[in-house]
């Protein structure tokens, strides 16, 4: 615990920033420290990402989180006594956080990463409770209710799910490893809930414990393998590169964060202490290796080299219709102004300027799964932490144009085995594939009911005999 207290002392979050509601509470310096620690932990847990709507008040909930089963609306976790968690006791808060059960006894959906938060220790739960009761401004507004389709609208179904998939035991440090490794493990497995996106899920949508951090499709984006495998994962990254990526969203010559990872960096990882980012890097570099023998032949960041995109087409007869452009022409018209003629990107321009990444040596073009390349074009890239913005081309480019351009880029600058189809682009444009779980569950229920009827019939027939 000393280790952790020391860390928190370095956080440097000004207590003066906290609202007046808890100013009285925080009069005692122990309480103030607890509050400050709770705030840091809430940042590390990235609670705000889901529990705030776009342009909504912090922690007031209301964000509709797209899941393959439907939209799950986040709840108000401000200390509002009418609409939030203002009446929660520490025990009730703990139940929600680590066991996925609300104060009214109803189960939470595992969109709330309580399976990860279950790793938290008691002291951290208390610090978080203190922060959410006294450090957050109460907002008396009620987010819309979550309405998932049958049978998932029966929250009790989650009880069975929890029996199968919730390991309710807090993190136990491994005394054979360093304090730094243990801190990293505690963050990665617990608060930072990396596995929520980066670990593949099984048919019941629970994380597959046999493949930790082996990479998974999350909605429309691909959360890559971040295990220590040098080919499939990030074994080729140095600790310093991982830590820098977590800080700025960019590892030069390797990768840049977009989509949900950019949000995680903006809201959470960029705001951690250097020591915590280093600890995460140490843990990942010492963690289990997940190798995909089939798809992965070289590290995702290692593909490609500089090449002149338009060379062969320069000076050729003008094609008036951009829908007939080939990949090089599309690149020239839409991409080259920033990513440059040889796709080499540009270094930072001006004191506040952002560096623009190269397209070779870029993981977005290196994975067998090409979703992130398509999503970057459809939705652009936005990171507040380093004021990076690639505009969205959703309105400018058709599915066919994006497929043509993507395949050109993959062929010339990325992993040539990766492909993009028009159908893939249109599915990603529409918001991704829906889950087969819904059908499975419904079919399963029908099968179960039929079985039950059969048993009842058999029993009845026997009794008649």
């Amino acid at each position: 615990m000393n280790h952790f207290t020391r860390l928190c002392a370095t956080v440097g979050v000004a207590v003066g920033m906290l609202a007046s509601a808890h100013a009285a509470f925080a009069a005692d310096s122990n309480d103030a420290a607890l509050l400050q620690r709770g705030e840091y932990l809430a940042t590390a847990g990235d609670c705000i990402a889901c529990h705030s709507a776009a342009a909504g008040k912090p922690y007031a909930g209301g964000l509709a989180i797209a899941t393959p089963l439907g939209k799950i609306v986040s709840s108000n976790i401000t200390p509002s006594k009418t609409n939030g968690i203002g009446n929660y006791t520490l025990e009730q808060f703990d139940d929600a956080l680590r066991r996925g059960v609300r104060a009214d006894g109803q189960h939470l959906y595992p969109a709330m990463p309580y399976t990860a938060y279950a790793q938290l220790n008691d002291d951290d739960v208390k610090a978080l409770y203190t922060y959410f009761q006294h450090g957050v401004t109460a907002v008396d507004s009620q987010p819309a209710a979550t309405t998932l389709p049958f049978p998932f609208n029966i929250r009790l179904s989650m009880a069975a799910w929890n029996l199968l998939f919730l390991d309710g035991k807090p993190f136990v440090p491994d005394t054979s490893k360093s304090a730094e490794w243990n801190r990293g493990a505690y963050l990665v497995l617990g608060l930072a809930h990396c596995s929520a996106c980066h670990t593949p899920r099984n048919v019941a949508m629970a994380e597959d414990s046999a493949q930790p951090l082996a990479g998974a499709v999350v909605s429309t984006w691909f959360a890559p393998n971040i295990s220590n495998d040098p080919v499939s994962g990030i074994g080729g990254w140095s600790e310093a590169e991982i830590a820098e990526y977590l800080r700025s969203g960019r590892a030069v010559g390797k990768a840049q964060a977009a989509g949900p990872m950019a949000e995680a960096i903006d809201n959470s990882l960029s705001r951690l202490t250097d020591a915590d980012r280093k600890a995460i890097a140490v843990y990942l570099k010492a963690g289990p290796i997940q190798h995909h023998a089939g798809d992965d032949t070289q590290a995702a960041y290692s593909w490609g080299q500089p090449a002149l995109a338009i060379g062969a087409d320069r000076g050729a007869a003008r094609v008036g219709d951009t829908t007939l452009f080939n990949g090089a022409q599309l690149y020239d018209a839409n991409c080259a102004a920033c990513h440059q003629a040889h796709a080499e990107g540009t270094p930072a321009w001006g004191k506040d300027g952002a560096a623009l990444p190269s397209l070779f040596h870029n993981t977005a073009l290196g994975h067998a799964n090409s979703n992130n390349l398509v999503m970057a074009m459809l939705d652009g890239v936005a990171r507040k932490s380093d004021d990076v913005m690639m505009p969205s081309f959703r309105q400018q480019l058709t599915d066919q144009q994006i497929a043509t351009l993507s395949n050109y880029l993959l062929q010339h600058y990325g992993n040539p085995a990766a492909k993009v189809t028009v159908a893939q682009v249109s599915q990603l444009r529409a918001g991704g594939a829906s889950s087969s779980l819904l059908t499975t569950a419904r079919v399963g229920i029908v099968v179960a009911v039929l079985l039950l009827l059969l048993i009842v019939l058999l029993v009845a027939r026997r009794r008649r005999k």
Partner: protein, 532 residues
Amino acid sequence: MSEQYSADVVVIGSGIVGALAAHRLALQGASVLILESGPRIDRATLVANFRNSPRKGDFMSPYPFSAWSPHPVYQPEDNDYLVQAGPYPYKAEYIRIVGGTTWHWAAQAWRNLPNDFKIQSQYGVGRDWPISYDDLEPFYYEAEVKMGVSGAPNNGSPRSKPFPMQPVAQSYLEQRFQERLAPGGYQVITNTTARNSRNYDDRPACCGNNNCMPICPIDAQYHGGLAVDAAEKAGAKLIINAVVYRIEHDDKDRIVAVHYYDPQKNSVRVTGKTFILAANGIESPKLLLLSASDKFKNGLANSSDTVGRNLMDHPSNSLVFDAEEELWPGRGPMSPSSINHLRDGAFRAEHAPFRIDISNSSQVASVTQNLIAKGIYGAELEEKIRYYSARQCSLKNVLEILPDPNNRVVLSDKKDALGIPRPQVHYAMSDYVHRGMAAAREEYTRIAQLMGGTNLRYSPDGIYGNNQHITGTMAMGSDPATSVVDAFGRAHDHPNLYIASTGIMPTAATVNSTLTAVALALRSADHIHANA
């Protein structure tokens, strides 16, 4: 003849001025219809056209010409669309596609100076505006927020609120000019531009492509195409390839409809409650003149006989020289900074005021052409391209020409493909401009000396470039006998016809006219909404 469309507000022209007025009115709940004579061209096509063009310096070359919506083209040869009656050529470039001419600008988004609104009462020249700087200030600010404008706070135009963003980072050339000219008493300030220095309005920051003209390839620079997108998002409807050729009034002098041709010359009538004419400073007066009726024999809004008169632009003239140090123009925006202290002063009674603009355009193409023309080739050519491209600099001025009723746009007897008369321009330079130029030339020489300049190449005396700042042709004023529109841009003769254009500016001042025209149009929109 069919009547197919109707709206609360009908806007003729989809350039930045009309589109931003349309955007404001649509946001306030009006049904808005925008009629654009030309086609819609996406940015990727324009960028591809630019990159494929052998004439990188011809800012019209990426913009397709359409026969039904013709615009002037001068290279490779003059298409003679704009008929020149002389004595001085007025070779305006403008683009008749969705978004208009700000597709190719350097994003200069200056406010006038307070004195620019009253040069007649202050200096006894030109004419006063019916409004003051203070009347326009809130609308200047509104325009700056929409367009993402930044600049130096000490640019002479007082502000109620700071710019919405910091200026774009200074290029090395700009820094060196600033440092070397300061001892000579010159203050080099960053230009006021609608160019993102940070991510703003879902558009990225400038990354220094240095082809602001003819096309910013990433929309870091604001333009009319973006204004149209915003207006459509707010609910306005856009009809492309709709060539308005007649404005129709009723017996109470109110405008009841406009008529347009599609490219096949089918005519369509569009009715509305309020009409905004926003088809630039040449095409708008052309349309008013074309719409002459039995009652308004000289054309609509023209009881003062000033429609088309008082045509102005900003004549400019340049100095090219070789600096003694490597400055490498071409990194960053093309026109990043200028010298502004000669824009106002008692001298305005005697000669034209001016701004001196320091170019940062890449010199590689012009240096190379010059060297090849001199017969230099091989290794020496490469070496000299490198040497001169790093050092060659260019200054130009932006001079205020005064309104003169003899400088004017009229209908020529030549017709375009749809049979619509083409505009004819009568234009002459005045001694006021020549005297201003003489004063500017002295400044040029001093600046070149401070930069250690050699090989000074002044553009010929009496020869001026055109800057596409078409002003004066539908001037605003308090007196209906001497002006076309009132202080709110409403035609004196027609209570529901507004004109949103650089053409309603009664004087040209010394800065690019776009921001002022947008501010005036937003003020008109505010007036339309308040009186709806």
